[in-house]
């Protein structure tokens, strides 16, 4: 089942009076429950592509269908609703609000329209926090915990609404490798439960845990690698395949 179908996505930015194309007609499909990653050199358009397929940013031409609905045709409110109920986002830097403590940040989107079930929401948030190992931190301010812990809180927030897909733009980019592994474990678990995950990453070790890797260069997808779902074995081989591919494209 295809969940996201992107056709011929074109996006350019204008700086001053010159416009320069960033996405030159990219097409891609993402299946339900799929675990994919995007790799490519800095400035190749990975983040831009992710924003385009998630409806966070507008595109110049082409179409993006999410669950059969054309994102460009939706109103701001409909896009918000989709983001809140069907998508989750995790960024390189954790994007939590300074004013709220960890728990409040996690339940924030859920509380927007589900205040009646506050008790249930809280229960769910606590369960998730326990699962990612930050249950003792719920009352802390966001300035009082480590970067890895914050990132885990961000993931909790993203999965609270049981989204169909989680987008992660270098979610492990600012973390040391132990923390990064922990995050990847969590994302894999979520994926096993049926949620699709789309990651942008520079790290072959991260990409190796996904089942499909798209390689970008200068605004187009130039190559693709497919693996079986990761089951904890064959890591070395997958990494080797990825680095070989990268060398082949010239990254």
């Amino acid at each position: 089942m295809k969940m996201i179908i992107g056709e011929n996505i074109v996006k350019s930015f204008s700086a001053g009076n010159e416009t320069h194309p960033v996405l030159g007609g990219v097409s891609l499909k993402i299946n339900e429950g799929e675990f994919i990653s995007i790799m490519g050199p800095s400035g190749s358009g990975k983040t831009t592509l992710m924003y385009a397929v998630s409806g966070m940013d507008s595109i110049d031409s082409g179409t993006v269908l999410f669950d059969g609905r054309n994102l460009s045709a939706l109103s701001e409110k409909e896009l918000s609703d989709i983001r809140r109920t069907k998508m989750g986002f995790v960024f390189q830097q954790p994007t939590l609000l300074k004013n709220l403590n960890i728990l409040d940040n996690i339940i924030l989107p859920a509380m927007r329209d589900n205040k009646k079930n506050a008790a249930k929401t809280m229960e769910k948030a606590r369960a998730l926090m326990k699962k990612v190992g930050i249950s003792e931190l719920e009352k802390r301010d966001i300035t009082e915990v480590s970067g890895g812990q914050l990132q885990r809180a961000g993931i909790c927030r993203a999965v609270m609404s049981q989204p169909k897909i989680i987008f992660g733009d270098e979610p492990t980019g600012a973390l040391n490798s132990t923390s990064a592994q922990k995050i990847m474990d969590i994302l894999s678990d979520i994926n096993t439960e049926g949620t699709a995950v789309m990651l942008v990453t520079h790290d072959a070790k991260v990409a190796a845990r996904t089942e499909r890797i798209m390689f970008m260069c200068d605004g187009s997808i130039v190559s693709e690698l497919r693996f079986k779902k990761f089951n904890g074995t064959g890591m070395e081989d997958r990494i080797k395949a990825i680095t070989a591919k990268m060398r082949e494209i010239g990254i």
């Binding site: 701001e76 918000s80 809140r84 994007t95 004013n99 728990l103 409040d104 339940i107 989107p109 301010d141």
Partner: protein
């Protein structure tokens, strides 16, 4: 280089620069207007009183007069420079018909006089002493203002027809607070109408040295000369002339002070926000060895430019509006003797505003020195953690919607940021409520009880006539039988001698009657009830040096009698020097009687007034509302104008500041807004959060502002009110005062929505990369 940095900075923050400039301009305008008005008012009054040669001491008197004895007294008293007795022909308003309309409804004592020879001249509108010819009449300038008469109209006095040749300024009786109005006619015409009314005498003195008025006053009283009427001295004339415009100036000054305060707060806020934004850069500059004083200079120059532009704009604006505000002064009092001074004072006022601004910016910029380079680079922000609001948690919130919660939480977490907005809203509320309450209070019926007039619906004056007590009794007999009159009180005024501490005697007017029926407000103590009790007006109490509880001695029918002072009250009637007692007396002559009546149904006042006026021609019957309107009318309308202006100004300030503030907040919060949007909050959710912030601060501001208005504001308004004799002042409650506050809520909401419009434009993609 400074020039470029400053210009870029201003272009980047156009709205803020403009708003600050507008505030400075308005503040400068008001300060300069106040200065110009003060100078003009005092100048005009002095000029008027100089040209007219206003008497330094005047005793009004009705009844028999011994001019010889007075002349001898003046001759022998070394303080006297000039002396004269003028006649004032008091004619009942019904007998004076201007163009077919009689003055029967006028609460003023309208009368006729001839031009004086020595001093106390009546002047025309050019400030010249009027020469009046037979068949001509000059009428008081206040009747020109209210449209009672115009040049060429025919006035008939008891059948004698005269033509209005012009208007006159009367340095004594210009003000509506002075209850008499003089019309000027020629000697021949005066003789012809002399039988149409009763003659009153104005016994007038000019002294060699004005500072000796009180010595002279004592000498006059103790000489036992004619004293059947109020006594008025030069300073009181001056005050009567100054009151209406003086009040307007006071309100203007108050408002301009507040605007200056608000301007300061805006500067404080924008400057701190700017320093916060530039925090890291400032730290870096310090780290690479640039001096904080260089930066300080840049900001200082920037604000100097804004302040200078604002001040110049304000000065220009003050020229536009000064004509409007000076109109009244010009009409009543003529040109000022030092109009060019006014210009200088206006500039001085503006310079003060400018210097205050610079000093303030300089003060705020002291923070630059405190920024530590290391801290700034490491943390990039001067903000501490969200202290205080820690326990206000979304997870515990059951009451508020999530958007409202987030709005309130933000306010609690960043209190110092919202403090400015709160202060502005408090001040705006204050500016709305205080002048409005002042207006409602002085225009309310109960206000007259602060002025020495009992609370009532109808007032009947019997004076300048014989057999006063019989006439009063006649009216009382009718009132007894009149079921629509629920209460009435007859107060009869007589003069007695009071013994001062040093043994000298001094005349004092005492109102005798039952003072508990329709009481006035006592600033201290209560009404006299027993035979040996007395209450004094504030002026008398101050003059005699007597407090509540003291004992004073009166000479009644040649015998000394002790009275205990039970109360002190404010009074503006009869020169402010009155007393109240309940004892009965047959020895002294009655000067006048006043009957106050309260109706069971106040809406009948109009009808009852005309009924009694028709029935008792010898008495002057007035509807209390009308009495108040005609006595304090121009004062009330000045305050009303000032109050409307304040509401407009307050709304404008609140609207502008909130708009500005919200725009800045949205810019500052763009990251949080992008985060919210990325997790699925809609634009309208975010708008709701900002509205919640505004409304939360607004509510706090309105509550605090109202509290402040009812405490500090009442004291301030009381100070203004006491300048015309009333003490112990309290605001009346008025249902209408809610209305401008609703306007304020509307303004703030609209400003918030306009100010946060930009939040919808914030792109997630562009703002997530922090």
């Amino acid at each position: 280089m400074y020039y470029r940095i400053i210009r870029n900075d201003m272009l980047k923050s156009k709205l803020i620069t403009m708003t600050t400039m507008i505030f400075v301009a308005v503040a400068a305008m008001l300060v300069s207007l106040s200065a110009i008005l003060v100078v003009n008012l005092s100048g005009s009054i002095n000029m008027l009183m100089d040209q007219a040669k206003t008497p330094h001491f005047m005793q009004m008197h009705s009844g028999a007069i011994d001019t010889r004895r007075l002349a001898d007294f003046a001759e022998q008293n070394s303080l006297v420079d000039e002396f004269q007795v003028l006649e004032f022909l008091n004619v009942d308003g019904a007998q004076i018909v201007i163009n077919g309309n009689s003055l029967a409804d006028s609460v003023q004592d309208n009368g006729f006089t001839t031009q004086s020879e020595k001093f106390d001249y009546l002047l025309d509108l050019d400030g010249n002493v009027i020469t009046v010819f037979d068949g001509e009449i000059y009428i008081p300038v206040s009747y020109m203002k209210d449209g009672t008469g115009k040049v060429g109209d025919t006035i008939s006095i008891n059948g004698k027809k005269l033509t209005v040749a012009g208007f006159l300024r009367d340095s004594q009786m210009n003000s509506l607070l002075a209850s008499s109005k003089r019309f000027l006619v020629s000697e021949n015409d005066y003789a012809a109408i002399k039988d149409s009314g009763s003659t009153e005498y104005l016994i007038e003195f000019r002294l060699k040295n004005m500072s000796e008025i009180s010595t002279f006053e004592t000498a006059y009283t103790s000489a036992g000369l004619e004293a059947n009427g109020p006594t008025i001295t030069y300073p009181l004339f001056k005050m009567l002339n100054a009151i209406s415009d003086g009040l307007m100036i006071a309100v203007l000054l108050l408002v301009s002070t507040l605007i200056v305060a608000i301007t300061f707060m805006c500067i404080h806020f924008t400057l701190l926000a700017k320093i916060e934004d530039d925090y890291r850069e400032i730290g870096v500059m310090k780290a690479i060895g640039l001096q904080a004083s260089d930066l300080k200079k840049i900001y200082l120059v920037k604000y100097a430019v804004i302040a200078a532009a604002g001040c110049m704009l304000g000065f220009a604006l003050s020229f536009v509006f000064r004509g409007l505000l000076l109109e009244n002064i010009r009409l009543y009092m003529g040109e000022s003797e030092h109009a060019s001074f006014a210009f200088v004072f206006g500039i001085v006022g503006i310079l003060i505003v400018f210097l205050a601004m610079i000093a303030y910016v300089n003060h705020v910029l002291k923070r630059f020195r405190k920024i530590s380079a290391a801290h700034a680079i490491r943390f990039g922000t001067s903000q501490g953690k969200a202290a205080g609001a820690k326990h206000f948690r979304l997870s515990r919130n059951r009451l508020l919607t999530t958007n409202t919660f987030l709005g309130v939480k933000d306010v609690l977490a960043r209190k110092s940021l919202y403090a400015t907005m709160l202060a502005v809203l408090i001040i705006s509320t204050f500016i709305i409520i205080v002048p409005q309450n002042l207006y409602n209070t002085i225009s309310s019926k109960s206000f007259i009880t602060y002025m020495g007039i009992g609370s009532s619906d109808m007032r009947i004056d019997i004076q300048q006539t014989s057999h006063i007590s019989e006439k009063a009794a006649e009216i009382v007999k009718v009132m007894e039988r009149d079921s629509s009159i629920s209460k009435y009180a007859v107060l009869t005024t007589k003069t007695f001698n009071a013994k001062a501490a040093d043994g000298t005697e001094q005349g004092i007017k005492i109102e005798l009657g039952d003072h508990s029926v329709l009481p006035v407000q006592y600033s201290e103590g209560r009404a006299p009830v027993a035979e040996d009790e007395i209450a004094l007006s504030t002026m008398n109490a101050d003059d005699l040096g007597i407090k509540v509880g003291d004992v004073m001695t009166l000479v009644i029918d040649g015998k000394e009698k002790d009275f205990t002072v039970r109360g002190v009250y404010s009074d503006v009637t009869n020169g402010g020097k009155t007393a109240k007692a309940v004892f009965s007396d047959d020895s002294a002559d009655i000067m006048w009687s006043v009957i106050y009546a309260k109706l069971s149904d106040p809406s009948l006042a109009e009808a009852k007034t005309s009924e009694y006026a028709d029935r008792f021609h010898f008495a002057k019957v007035s509807h209390i509302d009308e009495y108040v309107a005609q006595t304090f009318g121009s004062t009330i309308s000045s305050v009303g104008k000032a109050s409307d202006t304040s509401i407009a100004v307050a709304l404008m300030i609140a609207g502008l500041v909130i708009l500005l503030f919200m725009k800045m907040l949205v810019a500052k919060d763009s990251y949080s807004i992008a985060v919210m949007k990325s997790v699925g909050f809609t634009d309208s959710d975010i708008a709701m959060q900002y509205i919640s912030r505004s409304v939360f601060v607004l509510m706090a501001g309105m509550v605090l502002g109202t509290l402040l208005a009812n405490t500090l504001g009442e004291v301030l308004a009381g100070a203004v009110i006491s300048s015309f004799g009333a003490s112990s002042f309290q605001f009346v409650d008025h249902p209408l005062s809610m209305y401008p506050l609703l306007l304020m809520i509307g303004t703030v909401l609209i400003a918030t929505m306009l100010g946060t419009w930009g939040a919808g434009q914030i792109k997630i993609a562009a703002n997530m990369k922090e």
